[in-house]
Point group: C2
Chain length 313, copies 2
């Protein structure tokens, strides 16, 4: 397996990316080949300095970097030799099986949508966040930011994308799907969720259990929770900030600890044809290592192939 | 001052309501007159049993009760002698200056909108939640449930309603108003927030500071945060459930403790002509006592008069 990694993306790159390789290699029994894309001189020096010299590591030179705040479409077009552009080129041409970056989120999305492309039948790809459950299990929330405005059918598709993600990557068989809403009964909600409910109910490809409310997010009610990207993004950032607050206040608790973004490291772009993982700008070594693990799971489970299969018809 | 209290509303009524009176009376230096609406025989027995016999307490007999899950409009129409119907009648006729209930939320809202009515110029009244800030201060989030779908002008009005609530009840001078959104810059967001931003920016009656994200909710960025009632309700219930989880896990922390709904006890219906406070179904004595305090502050600050004044033009 070949995984492409943008070594220049994120606030602490390339140092934390290099340390992430170290963590990954020291914990994986049969590591993938890691195509490390970035400034060759800088990377080789850092890799040597941190003694990350392994046959699995292949440095791919990228003389340009897309900054965290550059305009996504423009930067991708202008900087064809940037680590993100080269990563997508390698993914599109099959040189790598998955591509990871903690860099410019917009550029990663534009790259995923334009160079890898949405799977036929998927109207709107989505990004997903894990949701720690009080009982120790893990839920999935999507969309958490790609689609601020959605149509009912988008939510219905997110339900299927999320179900496949829950099954293939988190091993949740027949995941329970809930529609995030402001009431329990069918008919409750805003115009969007009222219209989405019957679509989800009639979708034979998912295990729909009805509406879930804000209070159910952390309970064992639904494994996959769907919403438009506006609400999802606010929930995600609010949860991250609560974790930060708890950390600052020296609250040590296993449940709250699971809100740490590092544990998963990144989100896949669900609904594009090949595995793409986008990391947090503040990604550290642990997050990079977990992003590689996530990409690996996406490749071995063939989640993209399964999505292609499910959306055929 | 005369405050009407629905003694029969809430999962633990009338016992917790009676205990709430006790708490309120034992902590208030010049208590209001409390018109306790409910089953006279039951209430008098309970009040005597708990030794809550004071000149300030006036029992008002209501032979009927609206159940927690009854259809709001139908129940209010059919049960004219219920504690909620009588409470609104007393409020409308001026016998009490404020009305409190932890009963059927729908019936409280219908009663507020139909017997008290929205203030002229207010398109959509809203309910508000307090948001504890990490620095110890308090923010306001609205709408948290009345309006699942909103127009841009609704959010603009919530900004003013929330500002007056923050000032009159929480003593926050010139409260900073933020538009809850998925990005910091103007132009970010969904269709609704993109259209609302310029309205808020051009509103001379508020102190608009721009967009706030999910991660800013608990920070000292904005005192008043506005959103439609869908996102607001999910945030509110999610925060409540996190508090519950923390409590169950024996996490003792001053910041997390402030997520306890009891501390404020209820939400006003902002934008109706007289003070109406709606409590949580699970309200206990502490919550009832704090609802009375909230109603008292709403009366003394003349928040409804101030809203009427601000919406004149």
């Amino acid at each position: 397996m070949n995984i492409g990694i943008d070594m220049m993306g994120g606030d602490f790159a390339p140092l934390e990316a290099v340390k992430g390789l170290q963590t990954y290699l020291s914990t994986s029994s049969s590591p993938a080949n890691l195509f490390c894309i970035g400034n060759e001189v800088e990377l080789k020096m850092l890799l040597a300095h941190h003694r990350v010299v392994r046959a699995e590591i292949i440095v791919v030179h990228a003389p340009e970097v897309i900054g965290m705040h550059e305009h996504a479409t423009k930067a991708l077009k202008d900087k064809q030799r940037s680590s993100i552009a080269i990563g997508f080129h390698m993914l599109a041409s099959g040189k790598v099986d998955a591509f990871i970056s903690a860099g410019n989120t917009g550029a990663m999305l534009v790259g995923a949508l334009y160079s890898i492309k949405a799977i036929s039948g998927v109207h709107r790809p989505a990004i997903a966040s894990i949701v720690p459950k009080v009982n120790g299990s893990t839920g999935i929330l999507l969309d958490v930011g790609l689609n601020a405005d959605c149509k009912p059918e988008n939510l219905n598709q997110f339900a299927l994308l999320g179900s496949l993600y829950a099954k293939d990557v988190f091993g949740i068989e027949n995941p329970k799907v809930g529609l995030l809403n402001v009431g329990e009964e069918e008919g409750k909600g805003n115009v969007l969720t009222q219209a989405a409910y019957p679509l989800l109910k009639d979708n034979p490809a998912i295990n729909f259990i009805g509406n879930v409310e804000g209070r159910d997010l952390f309970l064992d009610k639904a494994d996959v929770m769907v919403c438009e990207g506006f609400t999802g993004n606010i929930i995600l950032k609010m949860a991250e900030s609560l974790y930060e607050a708890a950390k600052q206040r020296n609250i040590s608790d296993a449940f709250l600890h699971r809100f740490n973004y590092e544990n998963v490291g990144g989100t896949p772009v669900l609904g594009v044809a090949k595995p793409v993982v986008i990391g947090h700008g503040i990604s550290n070594a642990n997050a990079f290592s977990n992003m590689i693990n996530l990409a690996e799971k996406m490749v071995t489970s063939n989640i993209c192939g399964n999505i292609i299969e499910q959306f055929k018809s």
